[in-house]
Symmetry: C2
């Protein structure tokens, strides 16, 4: 028999339909559909058969209404074009799935006040138990996170005030490790190709780079600003001074480092003999750059796990303060860094 999938009247098949078909009460159908304990073998089989016959599919809306939750997390994200965001989203989705939660994407195209408000407005409608915001980009002050009241929120990668839940990678330690690595190799100073002004991560990496140079008593050259893309890294690279003045460059991400590679080669400089290059992110491709790129590895899986962990914490007990975990970063030394030529 092929499933009919719609009850008399054209409605979707409900428990009541299955119950009638199997000659039991709807509660028994419910039991089979859920615990499936406390139901005798023959009854269960009968009900399961009826479910198949009718093409029964539980109504998630009714379930959620009854249970009071969706087992679904929302992710507000401004872009999926940067590597870090994608990895973070993926990691969150995996971790959430592990905890039995699905993940709903709420893409916000441009971080203007209007679009953010609209997105957060739509959140009200969303079938979601909690929200993770991947900030990445600065909002103007007036846009400050106006979230639905009573909705647990975790913010990733943002300057957040006290009282909010947040998770972040240890950008500062990462940038410090880069700078120290290069100075230890004997470079006089380190140049920096920064990410966009609006990005929290970019700002923190830049500040940590500058601070590390200061601690070491070195003069910080002016930062050159890119926009995360390889193309902007290429253009930034063309602005670097030629000759011995610039022997080491720290790129705020690996993609810009790729662009920098091309700019350096085009202007006749070898990596690492003439210029050492370090990236940030450890994208999958970076070990196949030519030469393989020295970079900072961020543990996105852990970041995702921590996000989900924080959310779950908040769902369990909304009064609990955030642990505000910081995910470690790790220097991966490959072949793009070396001591400067004498």
């Amino acid at each position: 028999m092929t499933p009919v999938s719609s009850a008399p009247g054209g409605r979707r098949v409900s428990m009541a339909d299955v119950a009638a078909h199997a000659g039991v009460s709807s509660q028994t159908v419910s039991r089979v559909s859920n615990d499936s304990s406390k139901v005798s073998e023959p009854t269960r089989d009968k009900v399961l058969q009826s479910m198949r016959d009718l093409g029964y599919r539980p109504n998630s809306a009714a379930r959620a209404l009854k249970r009071g939750h969706f087992r679904t997390l929302g992710i507000i994200t401004f872009t999926m074009t940067t590597y870090g965001n994608v990895r973070t989203i993926d990691a969150i989705a995996q971790a959430a799935a592990g905890a039995g939660y699905a993940t709903t994407l709420l893409p916000v195209r441009v971080p203007t006040q209007r679009s953010v408000h609209r997105a957060f407005g739509r959140l009200e409608e969303l079938a979601v138990d909690a929200v993770i915001v991947i900030m990445e980009t600065n909002l103007r002050d007036s846009d400050h996170l106006i979230l639905p009241p009573g909705m647990p929120v975790v913010v990733v990668d943002a300057d957040h005030g006290a009282g909010t839940y947040g998770v972040d990678a240890d950008q500062v330690a990462g940038a410090r490790k880069v700078t120290e690595h290069l100075l230890n190799l004997g470079h006089e100073t380190v140049w920096h190709i920064a990410g966009p002004q609006a990005s929290h991560a970019a700002r923190r990496r830049e500040e940590a780079w500058r601070a590390s140079l200061e601690v070491a008593g070195r003069a910080a050259p002016p930062a050159i600003r890119g926009d995360w893309t390889a193309r902007s890294g290429y253009e930034a690279g063309l602005q670097l001074p030629a000759g011995a003045e610039c022997t080491a460059v720290f790129c705020a991400n690996d993609q810009m480092a790729l662009g920098l590679y091309r700019a350096l080669r085009q202007t006749g400089r070898r990596i690492p003999q003439d210029v050492s290059v370090v990236g940030f992110d450890n994208i999958e491709d970076s070990d196949s750059f030519d030469p393989p790129l020295t970079t900072i590895d961020q543990d996105f899986e852990e970041l995702g796990r921590e996000c989900v962990e924080e959310v779950m914490e908040q769902l369990r007990d909304p009064t609990m303060p955030s642990r505000r975990p910081v995910v470690r970063t790790r220097l991966v030394v490959r072949d793009s860094t070396a001591a400067p030529a004498k």
Copy 2:
């Protein structure tokens, strides 16, 4: 007054609570919450004020139950590590958002029979009106898409039988354009670094490459198989014969082309003077490869739009057959291809 966010009894604030607080019926609250027409100005203000006072947030589950839909699409995806998948997911999410739909991710780690079944099982529970499956990887026959009955489905990037809804990029035309471009430049034949055996897209690109060579009466060298990663492209590149025997290589994606660049340079060959290289995908970075990569651009935005379009079609009228749209591909010629040395 700060919102209380919970009604007497600890429950979330409901319409009834707002209604009581504002001294109106719950239906009036519903009207304000929805159309907001047919309500007098003073009443509306009163209700809105009560909503704010109590921190009212509509219950999406109850709404969905009443309305019969969630305005949410599900995406089943096997990996978010390949560029194409991410772009597709992003495009779908954007297109869905444009149509007023949210997007729920359902990541399936390994495409084994068990995990797929489990995921599709969880789908039953999912608060979703329809599903888009980004196949990408072959399932073993026994795993064939067992989806909940009555759930609209669109499959991307798969060999699908008749009767299903599907969308795909025109892999064949893309691969043909590549081969013809290289032959037209004067190359005797074209080598191929293929994607993994299990991938539909990889298989179709490989077949089209081989067919194009046949049509031109050229012998097809053995395909070298990679796994989409830059590292595998590097390793495949090391297996290419040295010398004039191999002057043109078509990589099944851009990342493998990046690895190939390194292998070629390492074995003393220049691009494009000694070897021409073509990729597939036109990833954002490929114009910053050194040299900028000739590749095939896939219009992922259109792919995403078409997916959503197909889903909407099916939601409107489940009996309608699929248009089975095919998204165009475009050859982007940059600096990695040239005529072979004489």
